[in-house]
Symmetry: C2
Subunit: 201 residues, 2 copies
């Protein structure tokens, strides 16, 4: 019997079932035309894997929501609220005592990553992270190529602030970013890259 | 002119106005009977101060909300949602490259801090933080005494898991916790304690 962090236990039979289901969903996932849309799911599953295997602890920040009205007559149902713009990044956590902070984005473009969907607040946040000795990067997926890269935040900040073009060319990724290996578990194994470029050196 | 992180600029005159307002609100705050309720506000203001002065970067995690229904006809208004239980902690961030993680709580009790409002998930989360070399603690206010302490997570975990009583006696705080100095700016100066007990040693 294996005990999972959600408190459930699984017998080997259950695990087989679970794996069979996962393999087929993985296949479905890999063949899916809009696989790029599932980047967040892949990262969340990888973080869960890392946590279960005591490798690191990375959590997703909840989406900030501004609550306007709550109906307490039905037990605190929110009846009026709106999404706020994320002023930080999606993920942060700890690996070997070090602070980790990153944002995940995907693009359908084959030639470049457009900077339009990164906010000024996020760039400011990542600059602060670097200033305080944190590890800051982006995980960027070129969905049409089925390639996912880890790119240090300093390059994104540089392009954001000095770039004449409002995008980072794909060639830049092949030059300075690190390709993340896709697999079964973890689905996106980005931790060895952190070890290699931030911890070892 | 001073430029604030929110993008606004203030002239010296504005700052004077701002400070006058802040002093009076501070006085109101200090004389307030339910000052304990404002612990979160004090921590947020202190974090803002630390960020402005380039001392560290600590952010508050948004409250997790499960969105059930969104009305797109009015521009993405959430019309049905509910609060989820926080499975991690309220705050995390980076200081001198190190990962910081903490939860803030207040009690009206004069004799002990009840563990009832700390969830098992939060204890599990903090155990993971410690396991990966992060700095983990609680900021706990005894509102009736106007005293705020920083208490290392290991003590809370110990009491949570082994304590015969479901609370931590006030005497334990005077013995192993560190009293946080209240002031004008930052309102709760907890960073020197982190420097002293986690970084220096």
């Amino acid at each position: 019997m294996i005990k999972y962090s959600n408190g459930q236990t699984y017998s080997p039979k259950d695990i087989k079932k679970k794996e069979t289901k996962s393999v087929s969903s993985l296949k479905r996932h890999l063949s899916s035309a809009n696989r790029g849309m599932d980047l967040e799911g892949d990262i969340n599953a990888s973080n869960e894997y890392y946590k279960e295997h005591d490798l690191c602890l990375i959590t997703k920040r909840p989406t900030p929501i501004n609550v306007v009205k709550v109906d307490y007559s039905k037990g605190a149902i929110i009846t009026n609220a709106y999404f706020e713009k994320q002023s930080t990044t999606d993920y942060n956590g700890v690996y070997k005592g070090r602070y980790i902070d990153f944002e995940a984005k995907q693009t359908k473009s084959k030639t470049s990553f457009p900077l339009a969907n990164i906010s000024k607040h996020q760039i400011e946040h990542l600059k602060h992270v670097l200033e305080h000795g944190g590890i800051a990067f982006f995980i960027i997926e070129f969905a049409s190529k089925n390639e996912v890269f880890l790119l240090d935040a300093k390059y994104v900040i540089h392009f954001y602030e000095n770039g004449e073009r409002k995008s980072i060319p794909y060639e830049k990724f092949t030059e300075v970013a690190h390709k993340i290996k896709r697999g079964f578990a973890p689905r996106l194994d980005y931790l060895p890259i952190i070890e290699e470029i931030y911890i070892k050196s």
